[in-house]
């Protein structure tokens, strides 16, 4: 069944929101205006968008160190996001988390995570909770190819399979764990193959094709909501920027040709081309969407920069709930 124009536009908008948020964050980081480390999602937008388009109230997402993309995809607020990256009191985490711990509990975005493999066990807990509370909610657990080698992923996958939890494991296989290419961190090609070891299906999808991700994620999530258990969805993708920040440190671990080849399959360009072909969105239309988001970005950055830093008194607050 072909996707509706509305769905396609929604996917496009989610992706573009991620892209423009990220590009701006990258610029600000390079300019030294955002402190700390920034792991950018640019290039991988189809994955977050294609999955998030199926999520709604009560669903959850566990994320990674590369978490802005996931938060934007589920509807994260640019103002609070930029404010958080800037370490301001108005940020999502009152400035305490920063890029690596950005979260929106109300949206079910249970946090970016500085620990590779930190998310999957938490996703198991959230999915267990959905089932326990007899909701129809699902949890989407994003993780990387590198993370697939952490013991925590294995334990979580086994548990999710055993309890048939409403959970989808979304592997963002961008071909690298930091600077180590996949063939130097595991002896397999398709991480989806690991699913068989946990008793649930594993599916490989083109992570640069938002429609393909959307469709595969839709099936997996529907399956989860029906109580049929988890799916491992491996999305082959690529990050356009460096592991941290935009430009690298000058150590060559992948070729310019390789980057160029992947950029030619830019997921946003691919989708825009498709939208144009289908007559859903022409160049002018796309430019208008872009401009609207761009304006939102500008406004959010201004808000963030005008926001106060947290008061030193906040330092020891929020350690315990009361």
């Amino acid at each position: 069944m072909p996707l509706s124009a509305e769905t396609l536009r929604d996917l496009h908008r989610r992706m573009l929101r991620i892209r423009l948020f990220e590009e701006e964050a990258g610029r600000l980081s390079e300019a030294g205006r955002i402190p700390g480390a920034l792991h950018l999602y640019v290039g991988e937008e189809a994955v977050a968008a294609g999955v998030a388009a199926h999520l709604g109230p009560g669903d959850q997402v566990t994320s990674t160190h590369r978490g802005h993309g996931h938060l934007v995809a589920v509807g994260g607020d640019f103002r609070q996001m930029f404010a958080e990256l800037f370490g301001r009191a108005t940020g999502y985490c009152r400035g305490k988390g920063g890029s690596m711990h950005i979260a929106d509990m109300d949206l079910g975005m249970l946090g970016a995570n500085g620990i590779v493999g930190g998310g999957p066990p938490i996703a198991v807990g959230a999915a267990f909770s959905n089932k326990y509370r007899k909701t129809q909610n699902v949890t989407a657990c994003f993780f990387g190819d590198g993370a697939s080698n952490e013991g925590s992923f294995h334990e979580a996958a086994n548990m999710a399979g055993l309890y048939r939890l409403p959970l989808i494991f979304v592997c963002e296989n961008n071909g690298f764990g930091e600077f180590t290419r996949q063939d130097r961190h595991q002896a397999i090609r398709d991480i989806a193959d690991r699913a068989a070891g946990y008793g649930f299906p594993g599916i490989v999808v083109d992570g640069m094709d938002a429609v393909a991700v959307y469709e595969a994620a839709g099936e997996a999530i529907a399956r989860a909501r029906r109580g049929e258990g988890p799916t491992l969805l491996e999305c082959k993708t690529y990050r356009f920027f460096d592991h941290v920040g935009v430009r690298g440190m000058g150590v060559v671990y992948r070729s310019d040709d390789e980057v160029r080849a992947w950029r030619e399959r830019d997921p946003i360009t691919l989708l825009e081309r498709r939208l144009a072909e289908l007559g859903i969105l022409d160049e002018a239309g796309a430019a208008a969407v872009r401009e609207a988001i761009q304006a939102e970005v500008r406004e959010a950055v201004a808000f963030a920069e005008a926001s106060p830093f947290p008061d030193p008194a906040a330092l020891t607050e929020d350690v315990y709930a009361s």
Binding site: Q60, T62, G91, Y92, C93, R94, G95, K96, G97, H101, A103, M105, L110, G111, N113, G114, I115, G118, P120, P121, I122, A123, V124, G125, A126, A127, F128, S129, N130, Y132, R133, T139, G151, S152, H154, E155, A156, N158, M159, L162, E317, D318, V319, Y320, A321, S322
Partner: protein, 333 residues
Amino acid sequence: MTAATAQRQLPTVMAINEALRQLMREDPNVFLAGEDVALYGSVFGFSRGLLDEFGPERVVDTPISEAALVGLGVGAAATGLRPIIDIMFMDFMGVAMDQLVNQAAKMRYMFGGKARLPLTIHTMAGAGLNLAAQHSQSLEAWFCHVPGLKVVMASGPYEAKGLLIAAVRDESPVIVINHKALLGLAGPVPEEMYEIPLGQAAVVRPGTNFTIIATGRMVHESLAAAEQLREHGIDAEVIDPRSLVPLDTETLVASLRKTHRALVVHEAVRFGGFGAEIAAQLQEAAFDHLDAPIGRVGAPFSPVPFSPALEAHYVPNADRIAGEVLRLLGRAA
């Protein structure tokens, strides 16, 4: 504790069982998960019968996957449930430390106060049963050093029940530590639910001229030591902090102001143990009241040995405690 209910004696294992049962009856969001806690009722027996009463949705056997097990608790707590996660032996925390320390403990802070994690981790510490180096440790010092976690240690059935109830009702992650050698120890336990407030020490034995601060099983050895010391004309006060984080420093300092001398006793390795924190705090808070340095008794600097012949020397006991008190008082033991 009313006079009537105080009569009822329960072993620690049943006090834990009763607390779990009452907590699960009280709140449908409370569930228990762990290795062999359901069908088998835990290898220590404290969850026997719970599966029958509450069913497999709420009493959950898990695979041997402690990281995912703690994560199960983190994710469930963050989404509205009130999990009790059992880590069979405290020694196994090693494989779950990240979920505890980097996730559970920090989530609320990292998210600017927007997460709530009413999560209880229950575990079993301690030596004395010839279970050797990987099944006998007391690692509470690790957790006390991690902001975001609360840490309590029970010294008997009354404490086991009251601390567990307080922990599960708390809104933050709490580590509840029982001692495997105390599971059979019986004592008065009220039938009704009651809390031992986190952060409230108990003066287990009032005394006038020496303060012994002891945790877990060492409370009993310290009480025995206090009896020995009576013969030396020493009237020792024995205090059980019960909760290490938050720590009831006030009660400890008040006692020290009265007695002018104190000894901290725990079963954990002395070097780098939590006793160091107590000692460091006390000497700072009551420096001008001290007639002797704050002493510490703990295990020697070695892993726990298997052989009964060695383990008997490893675990601190009443004799060593009394001896150390006398040494601090400047008398030969």
